[in-house]
Symmetry: C2
Subunit: 279 residues, 2 copies
């Protein structure tokens, strides 16, 4: 419903009352860093504590990579028979603003459905992808050693978004150097976020990560208003962003061509036309 | 000025009259596909025709990758002494909407400064990154053989954005398979975009690409109104998007916290709060 009928989901959500029972963990980072495998491990870890886990995975839905993508999802389907786990991949295909809204709605629907933990997995590359994790109570940024071009693509925004930094694939050469590298980036901040070495593949370090996250989770569970406010604020802003971008797209569809003609005829500047469109 | 004083640039641009002498080529694609090397080759090719070339390179500005990034830029600085070439890297660091506006402005300033060709290079991963190339007259999407996770990150948007598809690093195994793969994706469309094998490193195929682009360029040069309208329309929409997102960010800063408190107190739904914020 969040994907196909956002208006309907909206109405339903308005009746569901104040959100905020589920603890939302955002997991983001450049492609290829093993986010899905890590999410899979976290699901297992939370399940062993008896907690119900929902996952919203924002899928880049490339037409090229049926293989790789399917691989990730198949890995996750080992939880397919577990009624305490619900995994939903949401495609980002061709949406303008829609993703922000649908993600925020899906998380709130899972929240209302009684999941204790909701994990939001996104590829943290574009600014907008990073902003999506703003709906989370804590954000885990996943990177890996020796990331060349992949990290080149990661925006500085990633370095501000994280509450926890995971150097995944810790068995690869360069893991320690990457940890040092990260810590030096955080030097000078009032409080450096924890940097943890993990091997999602073998499971090493996953429990340590989960315990680190648990500090925030127990704060949240005991009603910490700052964390709850943060999550709700993120949902409001993301939903608004979605609405605004969708509106701009629909207005552009009907008005931008006409405005462009005015500009071409010299009757309007691009700036003035943009201002009209924006207004 | 476009980066640091968008209002000032706006005023100046409003006085510069109708944009649209420069032919704008967007070059986008996942990280690591060799876009910068290809852009470097295109600069050389256009220069050999005596055309002046401006480049706007949207840099992900990762704090990790001084090295890789600098490498790209150094490669381009072989044109540093050439007065017919102007290259500007624009950081996407922490901007919300600002990038759309600054990119559109920078291109128009280069246009006004008399460049014949403006190349806009972006990492085409996030939806917003892809939308930035909407200001271009033609869009070249660059991919490479055997792209696993890198392509996994590429959104389907890429498959709709391109007028030309380049399989770069054509000497790598799998190039032909990738071409076939792409063509099969385009089957069923009224008109399949050209798919070209290129080795930006050796230069093979670059002239063929440039000639293919030249068909659109000569249409544009002969005053084709559809192409000019397309470019101007893109600039209007991008500038408007920038303005709208910047406004939302500033309004969120001052209002979202208060609205979140209302939601937490049960006096407002997330949807209603988002609608207020959006309005």
């Amino acid at each position: 419903m969040a994907e196909d009928d956002p208006e309907g989901a909206s109405e339903m959500l308005a009746r569901l009352g104040v959100p905020g029972k589920a603890f939302v963990v955002g997991v983001t980072g450049p492609p290829g860093t093993g986010k899905s495998t890590l999410v899979d491990r976290l699901i297992g870890s939370y399940r062993s504590l008896g907690l119900r886990v929902g996952v919203v995975a924002v899928d880049p839905s490339s037409p090229f990579t049926g293989g790789a993508l399917l691989g990730d999802r198949i890995r996750m389907t080992k939880h397919a028979d577990d009624m305490g786990v619900f995994i939903r991949s949401m495609a980002s295909r061709g949406w303008t603003g829609g993703l922000s809204r649908a993600t925020s709605q899906a998380i709130r629907l899972m929240d209302a459905a009684g999941f204790d933990i909701v994990i939001l997995e996104t590829v943290g590359i574009g600014q907008s992808d990073i902003e999506v994790v703003g709906v989370s109570h804590v954000v885990v940024v996943v990177i890996m050693p020796g990331l060349g071009d992949g990290v080149q693509a990661s925006k500085a925004g990633l370095m501000e978004a994280g509450d926890f930094y995971v150097v995944n694939k810790a068995d690869i050469e360069g893991a320690d150097a990457m940890v040092v590298n990260l810590l030096s980036l955080f030097r000078g901040r009032p409080r450096s976020p924890p940097v943890l070495k993990v091997s999602a593949l073998s499971g090493d370090g996953v429990e340590t990560l989960r315990s680190a996250i648990d500090v925030a989770r127990s704060k949240f569970a005991s009603g910490d208003p700052a964390l709850r406010l943060k999550g709700i604020r993120g949902m409001i802003v993301e939903t608004a962003r979605g609405a605004v971008l969708a509106k701009l797209a629909s207005v552009s569809e009907s008005k931008a061509g006409k405005l462009a003609e005015e500009v071409m005829a010299g009757r309007l500047s691009v700036e003035a036309a943009a201002e009209r469109l924006a207004r």
